[in-house]
């Protein structure tokens, strides 16, 4: 064994991916990615959302097949047709969404992939317990899974891959569901596995966690490798953040400054739980004044979606209060909030915002159908003329207004949705990812509509993952991470990098002036 194996020495590498390309319809997820992982190490795979990390790992785990590229394990070329191939080559993946069965016991979940044909419960449980002990994964094999915390469930996922004797473990954003203590514990468990001769690929975008746990890091941006096998001991997090976020591409024109008026929306120490029953965000306080767009930046899954839902009244808050137009709306119904001037442009357009199989007309009047009726009946002509009004004013290019709305293109869907919401002249606008997935024209149209509302005196909350958009469009920028507001920036003066660092929860960035 040489002391310092160079990355080009193929037989020394546990995993070597080179020139990997993968395209999905309309998206190039991986464009010639490189990844080299040495055995007995914990290797961080860093990058923003959409950088191509998960795609790359799904290729390594046999879920996706690459369009092009080479995969070598210990110098030997492999081609996986399915996850089973990857598993038998010793590659196991712990997905971000756990693939566990709540009604099964821990042991049943662990052995599901390769159980003996006759199962003796006691014996299986003993074997699982022995394996768990070896790596310090404390779980009770007999316990039904639904009783376990998220952290414990993750241990079960890890046990599953170990049970199948994986030598390469891929963990996709493993810390998102963990408490800080559990993150620390996970680090120790992973170290034990690395010392046992395995290697671990740790996908993350949280720099401070990565630097505590990992030996080396590879950084992806926009589907390409921007840095390969950096030594974590000698690389500082500012450098990593710069690599991940990249330099600001353009200096776009920013809209005229706003003249903020009175507070229209005010959150006071608001908290709420996510779908998993743990806090999605806690003690969030801010206010938005009339004539102001406030942006919320953050990596997806840090509580932004839940925050938007709570303001819209679609999710109950657990603590704190929500004040809109001087009225307490903490427990008000979505309709009450709408009547008092709130509009909501949800992230999930076709699921929450629109009813996919209903016609364009029906979708257009969903908010205001009470105005289009005579007695208990909807008046078709009124509804139609209202719908046509929206189509005209907001430039929706629609074919048949009686056809299902799902037939519209993404840009036109969003114009109709935004048009419907803004048509009532709302005083408070909550827009979640309003321009995501739209083409340049669509983005511009939606941004202009939001600015127009702001100039008309509305308070606008804009949640986006597109940092450039937020920096150009908003008057104030908040950064949300781990369910908390991590900082407030003035988008006129803030640099992409310092906002990026706050998004990635690098504590050193927040203390900076």
């Amino acid at each position: 064994m040489t002391q310092t194996p160079s990355p080009t020495d193929e037989s020394q590498l546990a995993v070597q991916l080179s020139e990997v390309w993968k395209t999905f319809p309309g998206v190039v997820a991986n464009a010639g990615v490189e990844l080299n992982v040495r055995p007995r190490t914990i290797h961080a795979l860093l990058g923003e959302n959409g950088a191509g990390k998960s795609t790359l790992m799904n290729i390594l785990a046999g879920v996706y097949r690459p369009d092009r590229g080479e995969l070598k394990l210990h110098g030997r070329a492999h081609q996986f047709r399915n996850p089973a191939d990857a598993l038998s080559a010793g590659i196991g993946m712990v997905h971000q969404e756990f693939r566990l069965i709540p009604s099964f016991s821990v042991a049943e979940n662990v052995v599901l992939g390769s159980a003996p044909s006759v199962i003796k419960t006691r014996q299986i449980e003993a074997r699982v317990a022995a394996m768990a002990d070896k790596f310090g994964l404390r779980v009770d094999p007999a316990q039904p899974l639904w009783q376990l915390s998220m952290g414990e469930r993750q241990k079960v996922e890890i046990l599953k891959v170990l049970w199948r004797d994986a030598q390469v473990l891929i963990l996709d954003e493993p810390t998102t569901v963990l408490t800080p203590d559990e993150v620390h514990e996970l680090g120790e468990i992973l170290r034990r596995m690395a010392d046992d001769g395995r290697c671990i690929i740790f996908i993350s975008h949280k720099l401070h966690e990565v630097s505590g746990i990992c030996d080396e890091a590879t950084v992806l941006r926009l589907g390409k490798t921007v840095a390969s096998s950096l030594d974590m001991a000698t690389t500082d997090s500012t450098e990593l953040a710069r690599l991940m976020v990249g330099a600001s591409p353009t200096t776009p024109d920013r809209p005229a400054a706003a003249t903020p008026g009175v507070a229209l929306l005010e959150l006071k120490e608001l908290s709420a739980r996510g779908d998993r029953g743990i806090d999605a965000f806690s003690d969030v306080s801010f206010q938005i004044n009339s004539g102001e767009i406030v942006g919320i930046a953050g990596v997806a899954g840090n509580g932004q979606r839940e925050l938007a839902d709570v303001i819209a009244g679609l999710r109950p808050s657990t603590r704190g209060s929500l004040i809109m137009n001087d009225a307490d709306m903490t427990t008000a119904s979505p309709r009450q909030r709408f009547l008092s001037g709130l509009c909501y442009i949800p992230e999930d357009r076709l699921g929450v915002g629109l009813a996919p199989r209903l016609s364009i007309t029906d979708n257009a009047i969903l908010r205001v159908y009470r105005q289009q009726r005579r007695g208990p009946f909807i008046v078709a002509e009124k509804a139609l003329s209202y719908c046509k009004g929206i189509i005209e004013r907001f430039g929706v290019r629609s074919g048949d207004v009686d056809g299902p709305i799902a037939a519209l293109s993404g840009g036109n869907l969003q114009r109709l949705l935004v048009g419907r919401e803004l048509d009532s002249q709302p005083s408070v606008v909550v827009a979640a990812q309003p321009t995501r997935g739209l083409d340049v024209q669509g983005v511009k149209a939606i941004q202009d509509l939001l600015l127009e509302r702001r100039n008309a005196g509305a308070a606008v909350l804009m949640i986006s993952e597109d940092l450039d958009e937020l920096l150009t469009l908003t008057d104030r920028l908040l950064v949300m991470e781990g369910g908390n507001i991590r900082g407030e920036f003035d988008p006129r003066t803030a640099s992409r990098q310092e906002v990026g660092l706050a998004m990635l929860a690098d504590t050193t960035a927040i203390s900076q002036p």
Binding site: R99, E108, G113
Partner: protein, 310 residues
Amino acid sequence: MNEASLIGLLVATVSFGALLYLAALGELLAEKAGVLNLGVEGMMAIGAVTAFIAGVELENPWAALVVAMISGAALASVHGFFTVALGAEQVVSGLSLTILGIGLAAYLGKDYVGLPPGAKLEPVQWGGLSDLPWVGPIFFNQAPLVYLALVMGVAVSLVLSNTRLGLALRAAGESASSTDSAGHSVLGLRLSAVAAGGALAGASGAYLTLSLTPQWAEGLTAGRGWIAVALVIFGAWRPGRVAWGALLFGGTLALKTRLQTFGVDFSPIILSMLPYLLTLAILLAISVRSRKRPSPSPTALGLAYRREER
């Protein structure tokens, strides 16, 4: 009510219970794998008619039973093909299967209505045991399918809880994607569970025309397939509990025809609603309880699975 008629009631309770249990076990298998099959009534009808026809033509009751089971499995596989392979809506497909099965059975059996049976499965004699008072006639003088139901109940229970196959099958009914990523074929598991369920429903139908009735007439199944569907819920998807439920529901079926002979003034129509009322009560209990713990119903029940693509 005298001793003889009480024994008669209990004998009928056990035989009706076994009839329901066979069909319910089949439904339980399919549902455990995640496929709701509302076609039990249709599969029973097909099992009943094919068993009767095969009995007349082949004059061998065991061959007739096998024919019925194969027919039931074949009809169930139609449902399997549409719902599992093509991802069609399970409720719609299952209801269609009931209508198809009943119609097909009427068509196939039109020349056999009222004919004497060509073959019968006679009650099994257990020597001295069969002569015991009470216990003898109730448990040791029943048709072979009663014992088959018992054996199948134990077998299904053991397979589900103590084998790799059972683990994978239950997993397919809980989370198809987990099962898939664990390397099991969701398609294969579900198709075989549905087919095996159909075979059991076919056997249950054969029990009607080979032992219980034994004749063929349209509408012979008389809604018992639906009771079997309800029974699976009533038994909380557990073979053991379903067995007790089958005896209870079998008892209501047996009591229905005997109420008048017992001189009880109680509407048999209300009695035939009882299984469904009890099932509603159980559903209520499940939903109240499942605020704290997961419902006993298979999580992926009714959900088609297509391997996700981005």
